[in-house]
């Protein structure tokens, strides 16, 4: 069994393979942020930081930190050559207007019709949606990157029970167990991590899981 860090890196590595050369990509906070570390070398990906730039680069050395260049989580970052700064209206015009090829976000729950809940647990955790609702509506492709269950509790469901962040928005779900497509028929497992049996993956999924005829092994 992988520990939490290994699981997160495993998921992030697999997500990175989904990104195409030249894509504009927006990564959510947490696990999705790790995806940038695993982009294959032959692909030139432009990362957007929704607080106001394209060309998000790696963290700077401590002595090179510019307090005015941070990512959407407030962490010091850099901007790559060819990047550009802009304001929030431009940033969300880019997002809502369909100019972001792919967004990668975490989730609390995803339903088999693509509904997603990832911004609040009423009475408990209410951080707010930030830019997530706009990204889910505007990005051409939405990838959810998350652990398959919450300590055993189902996150992939027939219907979300938490307040939705967006309706029918999710295209692909990548977990430590496999890769799942959201289709009109429901969840379809297209890749399986051989560390888990099909029965184990089905048991960890709170909705019907269709096994693709073209099922592949993950990575």
């Amino acid at each position: 069994m992988m520990d939490k860090q290994k699981i997160q890196e495993f998921i992030a590595k697999r997500v990175a393979l989904e990104l195409r050369d030249g894509d504009l990509v927006n990564l959510g906070i947490g696990l999705p942020t790790l995806v940038a570390n695993f982009v294959p070398e032959d692909r030139n990906i432009h990362f957007q930081s929704e607080n106001g730039f394209i060309g998000l680069g790696p963290s700077p050395h401590e002595d090179a930190i510019d307090p005015h260049i941070v990512n959407a989580g407030g962490m010091p970052v850099t901007i790559n050559p060819g990047g550009s700064f802009f304001d929030s209206a431009m940033s969300f015009g880019i997002i809502r207007g369909g100019h972001v090829n792919t967004t990668v976000l975490g989730a609390l729950q995803v339903a088999e019709n693509g509904d997603i809940a990832n911004y609040m647990i009423p009475g408990k955790l209410v951080p707010g949606m930030g830019g997530a609702m706009d990204l889910l509506n505007g990005a051409k492709k939405v990838i959810v990157a998350m652990e398959h269950t919450n300590k055993g509790a189902h996150k992939l469901l027939k219907e979300c029970t938490l307040p939705l962040t967006a309706m029918k928005a999710v295209d692909l779900i990548i977990t430590e167990m496999g890769v799942i497509e959201v289709t009109p028929e429901g969840f379809v497992l297209i890749e399986q991590n051989p560390e888990y049996s099909i029965d184990e993956i089905k048991a960890a999924t709170g909705a019907n899981l269709i096994i693709s005829d073209a099922l592949k092994l993950m990575m």
């Binding site: 307090p67 929030s88 949606m129 309706m167």
Partner: protein
């Protein structure tokens, strides 16, 4: 005429009960000196419009901790536990607004638009009680314009007419809030003479700026 005023004069333009827009994203591009002085003055019952509520010890988050707001309209409170605590305890009303919607509401408020139509928030709690509009067979949510009594903004550099320039990710909400407020006060790191900023480099034209104060530390 120079738009430069003292920090005391600026702070006195904010009154109890006002709606204030504050620039910044997690306190990057926030008017930190104005915030400090407003906390010292102890203005109260404000309504805040800001991207987020920052951190409890930084930026606008300090005003949350000083309990200066009766209502907060923002996209994210997750980095400031005090905002969540005040909301849960019923001390402060918090309205969560999608970030892209919030900036468009500000833009609409400043630019004479009756609102914006967006798909963001459809089918969620954000849509509750709001009108939907159909355009060419597509359904959108109508989000109304927002305005404020005072906008508290940041710029890297200003000339005496209020033309503003920016560096890095500090533009965020700063570029539109001035238009949407009756009084726009900009705190800047550097004030230069008219003509010292090349017109090609102006990000916000001075027409949106009423007053300038010197400050602009982190």
């Amino acid at each position: 005429m120079s738009k430069l005023i003292s920090i005391e004069e600026a702070v006195n333009l904010v009154r109890d009960g006002d709606t204030v827009m504050v620039g910044g994203f997690l306190a990057v591009g926030s008017p930190h000196r104005l915030i400090e002085e407003l906390i010292k003055k102890g203005v109260k019952d404000l309504t805040l419009i800001c991207n987020d509520t920052s951190f409890v010890d930084h930026g606008v988050g300090k005003m949350v901790a000083a309990k200066m707001f009766k209502k907060i309209m923002t996209s994210h409170i997750g980095t400031n536990r005090e905002t969540g605590r005040q909301m849960m305890a019923g001390e402060t009303e918090v309205e969560l607004i999608p970030q892209g919607t919030l900036i468009e509401q500000v833009r609409a408020g400043g630019f004479g638009l009756g609102g914006v139509l967006t798909k963001t928030g459809l089918g969620t709690e954000v849509a509750k009680g709001k009108q939907t509009v159909e355009v060419d067979g597509e359904t959108y949510l109508l989000e109304k314009p927002l305005r404020a009594n005072v906008a508290l903004l940041f710029a890297e550099k200003a000339d005496e007419k209020g033309n503003l320039t920016y560096r890095g990710a500090t533009r965020n909400f700063n570029t539109y809030m001035g238009a949407a407020a009756d009084i726009a006060i900009v705190e800047t790191q550097e004030i230069v003479k008219v003509g010292d900023i090349c017109p090609n480099e102006v990000v916000v034209p001075g027409v949106f700026v009423d007053h300038i104060v010197l400050g602009g530390s982190r």
